[in-house]
């Protein structure tokens, strides 16, 4: 099939529609507004609904309602907006409602700036709102993945009845790259738990309230079982030049692109280094990391944050090897050269 040169943000809109999503509720925020603008343009064209909500809070609750109606729905925002949505995401996780939430991260805390950061890792990967829940998180690093992982996100959401995140940054959103589009999904099955406003579904209830502590514990155990299942089935990661690697760099999103070039260049200098890129941040590629750790690979995690993913890597290697952090904040994207220099100094290679 043909390829299209397209921005990552546009690829998300196309991907969502090709996945059969027909409902978009959102609130404008830089650098995610392009997704809302694309949705405003394309959702109605194919019989869908685009609605600009009065707030991020309202937007996620509209998604909650629409998803309760058994259809595929989504929203997109950027970091401060995601903070506002956390309540609704917790409710969706509790009521087990599938939906897709796109977060094009920006610099924080507070108003911060609109440059790309990765400082939402904790609030996205660890649940973020109140309660014992997790949200599968897919982290694309190309325009192609912005499309294909958005489509995948809807499948995961439906399969496990859970909200799913697309976690990206302004670079991946703004960058144009060739994208190949698959055939659209048209016949989505009816969901036996949803309320369709008809006789067959009228005994269904969408709710996250369990007044009795034992009942709520039971519900929580069920959720945890689901997350364990997701960890078993849904891990995705990219391995690049890892077979003989003595050093492993890790990063996701735009950072992983920088790291790939760094690895290529260091390989030219005969440095045995490879890249492990988590594509899913929850579930986290723990086994892949651990296997490299016991082979004594030294790790360097590169993040555009104060070091959030690195904590998960450290937890995973269980002290079997060293895990270093190289980080930039405030919206500064590390260059290939600075990463190479850091690696050469740190590891004396």
């Amino acid at each position: 099939m043909a390829k299209y040169l397209m921005k990552g943000n546009d690829a998300i809109v196309r991907g969502a529609l090709l996945a059969g999503c027909r409902f978009y509720f959102g609130y404008p925020i830089t650098p995610a507004s392009e997704i809302a603008e694309g949705a405003a343009r394309y959702f109605p064209k194919v019989g869908g609904t685009f609605l600009q909500a009065e707030s991020e809070v309202a937007a996620i609750n509209m998604v909650y309602g629409a998803s309760g109606g058994g259809i595929r729905a989504m929203t997109a925002s950027s970091s401060p907006g995601i903070s506002l949505k956390q309540e609704g995401i917790s409710y969706a996780a509790g009521a087990e409602l599938p939906c897709v939430i796109v977060n094009i991260m920006r610099g924080g805390p507070g108003l911060g700036n609109i440059a790309p950061e990765q400082s939402d890792y904790n609030q996205v990967v660890k649940g973020g709102g109140h309660g014992n829940y997790k949200v599968p998180v897919l982290a694309p690093n190309s325009a192609q993945e912005m499309c294909s992982l958005t489509m995948k996100a809807f499948d995961i959401a439906d399969k496990y009845r859970a909200p799913v995140y697309i976690l990206a940054d302004g670079y991946i959103g703004q960058m144009m790259e060739p994208v190949e589009f698959p055939e659209p999904v048209t016949d989505l099955p009816r969901k036996d738990w949803a309320v369709y406003a008809d006789k067959e579904s009228k005994d269904n209830l969408i709710s996250s309230i369990y007044l009795d502590p034992y009942e709520l514990e039971k519900h929580n155990r069920k959720l945890q079982k689901k997350y364990a299942e997701i960890e078993k089935n849904e891990i995705m990661c990219e391995k690049f030049m890892l077979e003989d690697a003595e050093y492993v760099v890790m990063g996701y999103g735009i950072v992983s692109r920088v790291l790939k070039t760094a690895v290529e260049k260091l390989r030219d200098k005969k440095v045995k280094i490879g890249l492990l890129r988590p594509i899913t941040l929850f579930p986290f590629p723990k086994k892949e990391i651990y296997d490299l750790a016991v082979k004594n690979c030294k790790f360097l995690v590169v993040e555009m944050s104060n070091g959030q993913m690195v904590e998960d890597v450290r937890l995973t290697v269980q002290g079997k090897t060293t895990v270093d952090l190289y980080n930039r904040m405030g919206g500064v994207v590390p260059t290939t050269d600075e990463v190479i220099e850091h690696i050469q100094n740190r590891f004396s290679v």
Partner: protein, 478 residues
């Protein structure tokens, strides 16, 4: 009507199986509470209009959080204050449904103020029942936005003082200031006559939705004996004597006669139509042979820079598009963050045999500078042995580097001669390709089709490419 009083509405469950209490026949509300009355009136109306099967009841947070114990309809429980947003989502998903958004005063008039105002303002075709009992019942009698001046609650122990807590919010009046709502009425439950009126208002509000007329809201003054610490009889008297005065009963809006029914159009395009509607052209094909440029020009990492209005991003996009047409791996990244300051635009383009790693180009092998600040700013970044192409009709200095190739092209002048200053970017596009031999003209023409939005400009852009290409190949290095 007579039979209805004798048996329970079919819009209620026969036994309240979801209620964990051993008594599956009783409502969970306190004795003398108004919620039971309102529920009953709603259930009767749903049955009368024969819409219970397609109704979805939105349970709020508050005493009526368990409304789904009772209503034999689809049920969704919503977060505090968010019922109108949840209602919006489900109504949009199922336009034929009947959505009952049931809210208390804290829910609707405090934490959910934005949601109710905007749902009303959009004219969502939903029905809102707003139970106003001037207190937070469920959480134990705290002050509500509708608590009366002087009224004592656990969080206004000296009585509500306007100097500290402001005045009670009058929701029916407030919402009736908006353009879209079709029907708004305030009713009360304090005696038989008022309850009869309330029943009619509830029916009318639901009918308004059944007829697809738009947004309806009924505010119901309702007793909360537990919260008010009164017995049921005193509670009724308090509504009649005190609450009513602050919240006058009556119809605040009734456009049910004038409003036109609205049914959203349903589109269900086929798979093929969807691709077309999304501007995904399944016919597009890639038949463009790659040329074999000298090694030094392969895999360019480019920076394209100039003034905002010079079509810099478009030029970069055309480069990437052309590369893609020849099946190269390509990336295009507009300037972002600190680099954007100073009114200059630039973008990073990679055209590569193998996958593009970092899309950012900090040391370009090719710099295209369309104005002087760009040349000054980026000249030193260019890789040794790299190439600078600059518009010599706009830039009155020369690059100082001796370790790179330089192509000076009077692009703006050439564009002027062709009749349009704005095609200088395409002159440079052609010049770069002609100079390096990276791609043939056919590919460039094809790339224009997506890069140039207005087809009437295609011809002149083709001419610009031709002129530039010629200039480039005439001035090749050594």
């Amino acid at each position: 009507m007579a039979t209805k009083v004798l048996r329970k509405s079919h819009a209620f469950y026969d036994t309240y199986f979801r209620n964990p209490s051993p008594d599956k026949k009783m409502l969970h509300y306190c004795p003398g509470c108004g919620h039971g009355n309102v529920h009953k009136m709603i259930a009767e109306a749903l049955e009368d209009y024969d819409v219970a099967d397609k109704t979805i009841f939105i349970s709020p947070v508050g005493c009526s959080v368990f409304a789904y114990y009772y209503f034999a309809t689809g049920n969704i429980q919503a977060a505090h204050g968010r019922a109108p947003a949840v209602s919006t989502g489900i109504k949009r998903a199922h336009p034929d449904s009947i959505i009952i958004s049931y809210q208390g005063d804290g829910d609707l008039a405090a934490i959910g103020t934005a949601e109710i105002i905007h749902a009303a303002n959009r004219g969502e075709c939903i029905t809102v029942f707003f139970v106003n009992n001037a207190i937070y019942g469920m959480t134990g009698g705290q002050m509500a936005p509708t608590t009366l001046v002087g009224q004592k609650t656990t969080t206004s122990p000296m009585g509500r003082r306007p100097s500290n807590e402001g005045y009670p919010i009058k929701v029916a009046e407030l919402i009736s200031q908006l353009h879209a709502p079709v029907y708004i009425e305030r009713v009360s439950l304090h005696d038989n006559k008022q309850r009869a009126k309330a029943r009619l208002a509830i029916r009318k509000a639901i009918k308004c939705q059944v007829d697809k007329l738009g947004f309806s809201l009924v505010e119901i003054l309702s007793p909360c004996p537990s919260g008010w610490k009164m017995d049921p009889v005193d509670s009724m008297r308090w509504i009649e004597e005190t609450m009513q005065e602050n919240f006058p009963l009556g119809v605040y809006r009734d456009l049910t006669k004038e409003a036109e029914p609205y049914t959203p159009e349903i589109l269900n395009p086929t798979a093929e139509a969807i691709l077309n509607l999304l501007d995904i052209d399944t016919e597009l094909d890639f038949k463009y042979e790659r040329k074999n440029p000298p090694e030094k020009y392969k895999n360019p990492e480019m920076k394209v820079a100039g003034f905002g209005g010079q079509g810099i991003l478009l030029l970069g996009g055309a480069m990437a598009q052309a590369g893609m047409l020849e099946n190269y791996h390509v990336s295009w990244l507009p300037s972002y963050g600190p680099e954007m300051r100073g009114g200059t635009a630039n973008c990073h383009v990679n055209i590569r045999d193998i996958e593009v790693g970092s899309p950012m180009v900090s040391d370009p092998s090719v710099l295209i500078a369309m104005n002087r600040p760009s040349l000054e700013k980026f000249e030193q970044d260019v890789k040794k042995g790299g190439l600078i192409i600059y518009d010599s009709s706009l830039i009155d200095i020369e690059p100082t580097r001796k370790d790179i190739e330089i192509l000076a092209i009077p692009a703006t002048k050439m564009a002027d001669q062709l009749g349009n200053t704005r095609i200088a970017n395409m002159v440079v596009f052609g010049a770069y390709m002609g100079y390096t031999g990276l791609m043939g003209k056919e590919t460039l023409y094809e790339s224009l089709k997506t890069a140039i939005k207005h087809k009437r400009f295609l011809d002149i852009n083709v001419k610009a490419i031709d002129a530039g290409y010629q200039f480039g190949s005439d001035n090749q290095a050594g």
